[in-house]
Symmetry: C2
Subunit: 223 residues, 2 copies
């Protein structure tokens, strides 16, 4: 990168940070817990949200912002679960930015408890962009391999929660969940680690319980 | 993006294109077929190269450039197969650029037949950067889901070959290989599609045969 590129990038990131801080302030004042989901394409972000929708319904109201380069597919899957969802199609851009989230915010119903944001499938670029979330959650699916945390450290370093997904495939692929978690924890010791299969339900109640606790803590902190 | 950002990006891409054209000219004059592998993290690029190394050895000499954000792991795996490999660690950057490949080129032995470049695991950003390859190959693994081509169209639009990997997992995951191939072909009808399991060997001889033919064609075109 040239000096000019670095200045442009710093401007972009500075503006993003400022908008993200405004979003976080607004969502906290409304008592909404915002969660940003990051992962490679096909790690199971949408399936995780479908599973959470089934487990949180009745007790909590959730809403979802779906980020994709193209198509409305993920938002349609979420709406089919009775959850309001907004699709942001970036039209080529490799990550969501806070300003894109900010545009959706006025439409989010006032009685929502959780706002989940599914980022563009990309284990690299989204890690650099704060969206105003209170909890950042990185997913790693077993077929991707247990060597990914050290190869893509920024996503794991910047997250609060690591969800090892597709645990039903662990016996069938070269993936040691303890090695994956150990590598991630070596990068970021404060990570909270979960192991789930959204398809089979394994570990999903624990994860839903964690988010319910996080919401209660966030609201207690505000009071 | 502002107008200033667009100008900076155009400068970067213009410079990359020029360097890529030089690399392509040099490799063709040396009779080397250069293949750029693109995919999400964990789609099986390194395993595919290990499988190709086993099938091409004796008949052809191959060399590999490994792109990763951090670690020498992939280059070590390739060297363990007796294949010369250079690791480029981008230190945060989400894709390889032609100038990074250009720096490695003088070290590539003169008697090499194939130069494979494994890009950074990212289905978005690497699609925009020509590395001077003659064949661009996009991988999609069955656990990622058959809905990826339309969601990440640029990688499929810019490729010559689509390799559906981890075919051994197809019976176990929600993945219809015909749907995946159909979506990709709707974006790019000239894609040549292969279905492989590098772990079990399925489809690997056909893929190795395709690259041997592509090398012969490239050399015939030069003659």
């Amino acid at each position: 990168m040239t000096k000019k590129d670095v200045i442009v990038l710093k401007d972009l990131l500075g503006t993003n940070k400022r908008i993200a801080a405004e979003i976080r302030r607004e969502l906290r004042s409304r008592g909404i817990l915002c969660v940003n989901l990051l992962s490679s394409p096909g790690s199971g972000k949408t399936a995780l949200l479908e599973g959470l929708a089934d487990r949180l319904k009745g007790r909590f109201r959730m809403a979802v912002i779906e980020g994709d380069i193209e198509t409305e597919r993920d938002a349609e899957r979420i709406r089919a679960r009775g959850v309001p969802a907004w699709q942001i199609t970036t039209g080529g851009a490799c990550h969501l930015e806070a300003k894109m989230v900010g545009r959706v915010l006025p439409g989010v119903p006032p009685d929502v408890d959780f706002l989940f944001i599914e980022n563009v499938g990309n284990l690299v670029c989204p890690a650099g962009y704060d969206l105003g979330e209170s909890v950042r959650c990185v997913l790693l699916s077993s077929p991707e391999g247990d060597d990914k945390p050290q190869k893509y450290p920024q996503a794991f370093l910047s997250a609060d929660v690591l969800v090892l997904t597709k645990s039903d495939l662990i016996p069938l692929v070269p993936f040691d969940p303890d090695k994956a978690a150990g590598e991630a924890l070596a990068i970021n010791p404060r990570l909270k680690v979960f192991r789930v299969s959204a398809l089979r339900g394994e570990g999903m109640d624990e994860l839903a319980g964690f988010f319910a606790d996080a919401l209660a803590k966030e609201r207690a902190g505000r009071a």
